[in-house]
Amino acid sequence: MSQRFTIPGFTLPGFFSTIGAHLPQWPHSLALATALNAAARTGLLPADTLTQLEGRSFVVEVLDAGSVASFVYRNGLFRPLLTVPVTPDLCFQANLSAFLQLLARQEDPDTLFFRRELSIGGDTELGLLVKNMLDAIEWPQLPQLSLFRR
């Protein structure tokens, strides 16, 4: 496991967030909502948990990239929000490296949270529900190609 590629902790240079904050944010929201809908359609996200997200708004902010994605779950679909809500039901904030480490299951969300590298705002129980939903996703196993073995 230790021989696998690991994502290092890093912070993007300051100009990323300066420039990023001036760019339109809706493409991030659209991309994330589309990806989540695809995950829901393929059954990766459990239907019974999804129904508990009905009507709730979410903000995901990549601090060092200056980018924000916001969306709402309504009538069975994640829908991008064109304007970022001031008080979303749930807000995740972290640097890009922390989000990548989370997605790759290299770091535990609680560990990142305790170390203050991940911040969660809003409804704590909703946050726990989402965290546990993401933890329970069974990512499709990549085939063990001999090419990638050491």
Binding site: R105, P109, D110, F114, R116, S119, I120, T124, L128, A136
Partner: protein, 337 residues
């Protein structure tokens, strides 16, 4: 020289990926629970529905690992049948043992399922061998999980005076550890592990960010304030910083994690049957990290007990994962009684 019998490694599974992570990284047994208040980690979105339970048990047992089902809360008035159903379900699913705390449920289960292997949960709060032997005599309990309040010498005394296998905690977050008897969470929120299966339930928790810091509240009660870079913890009453006679400090207990790597040879020597890792609420990543580290240490101990030494890499890996980033031996090594 015959190799010493090393303790079994029992790891947490709050989800199917966490169960797979535990099995793949060397757990001898996993423990899990239903998605309801019959277990003491009844958190939103956590635990197993029927389908994932069936698949999880199959995954572990086909790899010759054990599955222990925690049904370790106390049956609420008028709802005893829910707890009975949970035990019946465990029997149907073919788990290797159930972990129970409620004396009524222990009695009922031992009568209705005489072949079912019963473990006494840490929530059952048996802190001496008389209590453990009572559970053995009355309900045929085969293993007891000891609360984290005993010193190693006290654990040894229990082991010497009981035929019941003894399981102790080896790694994970600590609280005041008055397990099965603690009502601090109810004091703040009206809900506690004994009643709803969760300590300081998330719906009562608030993280309040402000410039330069973050405050944590439990049902409105200020538990702690953290500067921006300061490691934070989950707001339970026992881990809060409070003002007492003009001084603000951890008035009940500092947030720490237990880590028994340093005393692993001692734990094996006194005959502990199993070491349990806390953390069904943690992610598959955490389970993989802790399991592989403890597996490596236990294997090393099995290979050569006399030359066992804790590798810095193991300690570094476990210290990183600790809540509050402080790792202690807990009560096992305590100068005071």
């Amino acid at each position: 020289m015959a190799a010493r019998k090393i303790p079994q490694l029992v790891c947490p599974a709050g989800s199917l990926p966490a169960l797979r992570a535990a099995v793949d990284h060397g757990a001898d047994a996993v423990y899990l629970g239903y998605r309801n208040d019959t277990n003491a980690r009844n958190f939103a979105g956590l635990n197993f529905d029927h389908r994932s339970m069936v698949e999880g048990i199959r995954y572990a047992q086909t790899r010759h690992r054990q599955v222990l089902m925690a049904i370790n809360t106390f049956a609420q008035p008028g709802r005893f049948a829910d707890w009975q159903r949970a035990v019946d379900g465990a029997v149907e699913l073919g788990v290797d043992a159930v972990i129970l705390a409620d004396v009524g449920l222990l009695d009922d289960s031992s009568r209705r399922h005489p072949d079912l292997r019963l473990h006494l949960s840490v929530q059952g709060s048996a802190t001496n061998y008389e209590a453990v032997n009572f559970a053995h005599r009355e309900f045929g309990v085969r293993r007891a999980v000891l609360p984290r309040v005993l010193t190693l010498a006290q654990v040894e005394t229990v082991i010497r005076n009981t035929p019941v296998e003894i399981e102790v905690f080896g790694f994970g977050s600590l609280c005041v550890m008055n397990e099965g008897r603690c009502w601090l969470s109810s004091y703040a929120t009206g809900e506690s592990p004994n009643t709803v299966g969760a300590c300081s339930p998330a719906k009562f928790v608030q993280w309040q960010k402000s410039p330069g810091g973050m405050a944590t509240r439990l049902n409105g009660i200020l538990i702690d304030c953290f500067a921006d870079a300061e490691p934070a913890g989950y707001p339970t009453l026992c881990k809060g910083r409070f003002e007492v006679q003009g001084e603000t400090y951890y008035a009940l207990e500092e947030p720490t994690s237990l880590n028994v790597l340093d005393i692993l040879p001692e734990i094996a020597r006194i005959g502990v049957a199993a070491i349990k890792v806390e953390g069904r609420q943690r992610s598959p990543t955490y389970v993989a990290q802790v399991t592989r580290t403890l597996r490596a240490a236990l294997d090393e101990l099995a290979r050569d007990e006399r030359h066992f030494s804790v590798r810095p890499a193991w300690q570094a890996e476990l210290a990183r994962l600790a809540e509050g980033s402080q790792v202690t031996l807990g009560a096992y090594h305590r100068p005071w009684r």
